[in-house]
């Protein structure tokens, strides 16, 4: 947040003893979430290079098969030289693309992608010229079909939309060529149609399937990253500042230092202009907020607010900050349970249906003494987890194991919501 942002705020509500009301904290956690998201988007390419290599190998095998088939049928070609040049062009762009991708890392530059597509189009056109007179594109095309599949080799290097669009254009071109090159009576001939359909599917489906698999893989990595990053809250102290909170505090300290320095060195005139005065007031407000309120949040609050996945669907009510008393095993159990309840969504492959599916509410406390026998120096914290949109038989079996790591639990189902009551035994903070 720059100083210009600060200036736009109105005079904050505060009294001399530093009590502040306002939504600065909400703003801070939004910032944290946004930064976290940008960082994780950057890491989305993690591991896809390996999948891309596999895809390139498959394309290579397909090309070898195509070349063998073409050489075997050399005599049948009206224009074998056109088909041969198609293969030379195709082999060149394929080798170039694969070598460049190994060299340049996880993305093919735009101009190279353009060249690659132009090469595929050329190979496609040459191959069609070579077999046009045979009037059976599906039965004789080799380089043209491999050109369609060649897009699979780029599956880890370019975006899903671009590849699907390229594949779609190729499908339309192939279908058009098949249609206009059809012999008389072809459309009553099931053998001819089946051959064309098979050829079309073999050229178009592999890159489409490849895109779907790589996208699923990326999503899996994303979810896993989110979980691992949040997992670090398990070892946090009872009360903690969230990530970025110290950066925020450092930034405020620096802003205050600059302001005070400007006053001290007479760069800023006294008395202050209303605008500068409000900057000072805003700084004081934010500093107080960070100093006084900053350490009142537990690891669980930070875990939920920092996680993209949990933040969307988990609500937390923990008025007495009791979550901080849980030991690392119990925390891990609680976090895993929340994860399994929200992230185990069957329709995760379909992003449009996400978000509306499941919600989880975690209610911690209040402690009511004398309910159950508790060992010395321990207290029992009641934790209630209510989730909606999770049918009892759709709950991942790992959830029950996670619950049992928190404490003794009992569960009940009403309507479409699952309710789990857990009795969590923790060290009594009064004895420490």
């Amino acid at each position: 947040m720059s100083k210009t942002d600060t200036i736009t705020f109105s005079q904050p509500e505060e009294n001399t003893l530093g009590v502040v009301v306002g939504n600065a904290r909400r703003a801070v956690s939004t910032t944290a979430r946004r930064l976290g998201r940008a960082a994780s988007a950057h890491r989305a390419s993690l591991g896809t290079a390996f999948l891309g290599l596999g895809a390139a190998i498959i394309v290579g095998l397909r090309a070898v098969y195509g070349v063998i088939w073409f050489v075997g049928h050399w005599d049948a070609y009206p224009e074998p030289l056109a088909a041969l040049s198609a293969w030379i062009v195709l082999a060149t762009v394929l080798v170039a693309a694969i070598v460049m991708s190994r060299v340049s890392g996880d993305r093919l530059p735009d101009w190279m992608f353009g060249l690659f597509l132009a090469g595929l189009a050329t190979a496609f056109a040459l191959d069609i010229i070579a077999i046009w007179d045979l009037q059976d594109v599906g039965g004789h095309a080799t380089a043209a079909l491999t050109a369609g599949m060649a897009l699979l080799a780029l599956v880890a290097l370019r975006g899903a939309i671009e590849l699907l669009a390229a594949s779609g254009v190729l499908a339309i071109a192939l279908a058009a060529v098949m249609f206009f090159d059809a012999p008389v009576g072809a459309f009553e001939d099931s053998a001819w149609i089946a051959t064309q359909v098979t050829a079309l599917a073999g050229a178009v489906l592999p890159p489409v399937i490849g895109v779907v698999i790589v996208e699923s893989f990326r999503r899996m990595v994303q979810v896993e990253l989110d979980r691992v990053l949040v997992q670090s809250t398990v070892s946090a102290p009872r009360f903690a500042v969230g990530m970025l909170a110290s950066e925020e505090l450092a930034r405020l300290d620096l802003a205050a230092e600059e302001l005070l320095q400007a006053v001290a060195t007479k760069k800023t005139n006294l008395p202050l202009t209303p605008k500068n005065a409000s900057v000072a007031a805003q700084l004081a407000t934010e500093l107080r907020l960070h100093l006084i309120e900053g350490r009142r949040e537990t690891w669980l609050y930070h875990a939920v607010s920092e996680s993209e996945q949990l933040g969307k669907s988990v609500t937390l009510s923990d008025k007495s900050s009791l979550a901080g008393l849980l030991d690392p095993t119990q925390r891990d159990g609680l976090l895993s349970a929340a994860w399994l309840l929200v992230a185990d969504v069957p329709s995760a492959a379909n992003p449009r249906r996400r978000g509306t599916t499941r919600t989880v509410n975690i209610q911690i406390g209040p402690v009511t003494p004398g309910d159950a026998p508790v060992p010395d120096h321990k207290i029992a914290i009641p934790i209630t987890i209510t989730s909606t949109g999770v049918p009892r038989n759709r709950v991942d079996s790992g959830v029950w194991d996670a619950f049992s790591r928190i404490g003794r639990y009992s569960d009940s189902t009403q309507d479409a919501s699952l309710r789990v009551d857990i009795e969590c035994i923790v060290d009594n903070p009064a004895d420490q």
Binding site: T16, L17, V19, R43, L46, G47, L51, G54, S190, I193, A194, T195, V197, T198, A201, L205, S216, M220, V223, E224, R227, V228, L229, Q231, S232, S235, P237, A240, M243, A245, S246, L249, A250, L254, A256, E257, L259, L260, Q261, V263, A264, K266, L270, L272, T273, A277, A280, A281, L283, A284, L287, R288, G294, S336, W339, L340, P346, A349, G398, A402
Partner: protein, 393 residues
């Protein structure tokens, strides 16, 4: 961290399931088109075959979301059924029918290999499925040995390819899990460092207290304070913030040349009291000191004590209407007490809900954190007295 490995293998299974679904469904659809073309298969075969396609598609959809072994079994059975419908016809298959059964055998149900590599039982089912499928396709093409060979070969390649994809994806997941775990470790270290840094900055309470007081003065445009005094105060505070930024931890508004108060565990109260007095002096409130100044306090207790004291003095400066306050320090074996007294306008304690909230928050709250307490006495027209106490540690 067995839990985490469980979770990642679940994610892997889900990925493989979804891949099998899209792979199987797309080629099953192509096969169904070839199968359903007019003249491709006889009418009775069509009546048996098309429902089997529906069953196969349903099973493949279910595989996408369920890990139960029954779905791959059902898919395999229905796929084999489709091939056998063609194989059991008395006449050899038409070219379209041949393409249909090769599509479904070499890709439609070969996609099951994606979900059949994760346990021994599943691998056994994979081998059995591949064998049966190749057998059924060869049986269908038996009339012509050359095409039987070609079709059987294609189906073997199809199953091998799907198995390879499954193995490849399964190999990729642990790799990426390892890298994610190392990112996680780095992140944990980062979180701890961030926590420590925040603690260091938040721990510098006395410093922030004086900075906040100065900022609040500036927020009121510095009204009521001499500009030179305010500039001097701002320069001192900027200097302290600079020290904090550069890694030193000044505990209080020590005068130039004085050692930072946290350099030793215990600090003499008097030196820091003097600086508080000077600060308020610059802002127009004369603070008179009474009692002992030679009290040693642990630095966290001292911080809380001075902070509370400064808050009280700031209130006097703002609200009392007088320019002088008295601070009396007394101590015994266990406790250090301060009485902050002014002869100002005073107020009715019942009227100050908001201020009381602030008082509780920043004075009482912080004193209690170190085992101390504060009490407030006032009435309109007769001044205000605040009693602060902290343990000697």
């Amino acid at each position: 961290m067995t839990g985490r490995m469980d979770l990642i293998s679940k994610e892997r299974d889900r990925l493989l399931q979804r891949s099998a679904r899209v792979y199987g469904l797309s080629f099953t659809a192509v096969s169904a088109v070839c199968f359903g073309l007019p003249g491709s298969v006889p009418a009775n075969a069509l009546l048996v075959g098309l429902p089997l396609y529906v069953v196969l598609a349903g099973a493949l959809v279910a595989i996408g979301v369920s890990r139960m072994i029954w779905w791959p079994l059902l898919a395999l059975a229905s796929g084999l059924g489709i091939v056998l419908t063609v194989a059991l016809e008395p006449s050899p298959p038409t070219p379209a029918a041949s393409l249909a059964i090769v599509q479904v055998a070499a890709a439609g149900i070969a996609s099951l290999a994606l979900v059949l590599t994760t346990s021994l039982a599943r691998i056994a089912l994979l081998a059995l499925g591949a064998l049966l499928t190749v057998g059924a396709v060869v049986l269908a093409e038996l009339a012509e040995p050359a095409s039987a060979l070609r079709a059987g070969g294609t189906v073997i390649v199809g199953w091998a390819l799907a198995t390879l994809i499954a193995v490849w994806i399964s190999a990729g997941v642990p790799q990426v899990a390892k890298r994610i775990a190392s990112i996680g470790r780095a992140h944990r270290a980062e979180r701890q460092a961030s926590e420590l840094e925040a603690q260091r900055r938040q721990g510098a309470r006395l410093l922030h207290d004086t900075v906040l007081a100065t900022l609040t003065l500036l927020a009121h445009s510095g009204v009521g304070v001499k500009p030179e005094a305010l500039r001097q105060q701002a320069a001192d505070d900027a200097q302290l913030l600079r020290q904090l930024r550069l890694g030193q931890s000044p505990a209080g508004p020590a005068e130039a040349g004085a050692a930072p108060a946290t350099a030793v565990d215990d600090t003499v109260l008097g030196t820091t009291l003097e600086s508080v007095k000077q600060r308020f002096g610059r802002m127009g409130l004369k603070v008179s000191w009474h009692g002992t100044g030679q009290v040693l306090l642990p630095s966290d207790v001292l911080d809380a004590f001075l902070l509370a004291l400064a808050e009280c003095l700031e209130n006097v400066r703002r609200h009392s209407g007088v320019t002088e306050a008295h601070v009396t320090i007394t101590d015994d074996a266990t406790t250090v007490r301060a009485l902050v007294t002014d002869a100002g306008v005073g107020f009715d304690i019942d009227d100050i809900d908001d201020a009381k909230l602030g008082f509780a928050e920043s004075v009482v709250g912080r004193l209690r954190e170190v085992g101390g307490n504060a009490r407030l006495f006032s009435a309109p027209g007769s001044g205000t007295t605040v009693a602060l106490e902290v343990p000697r540690g």
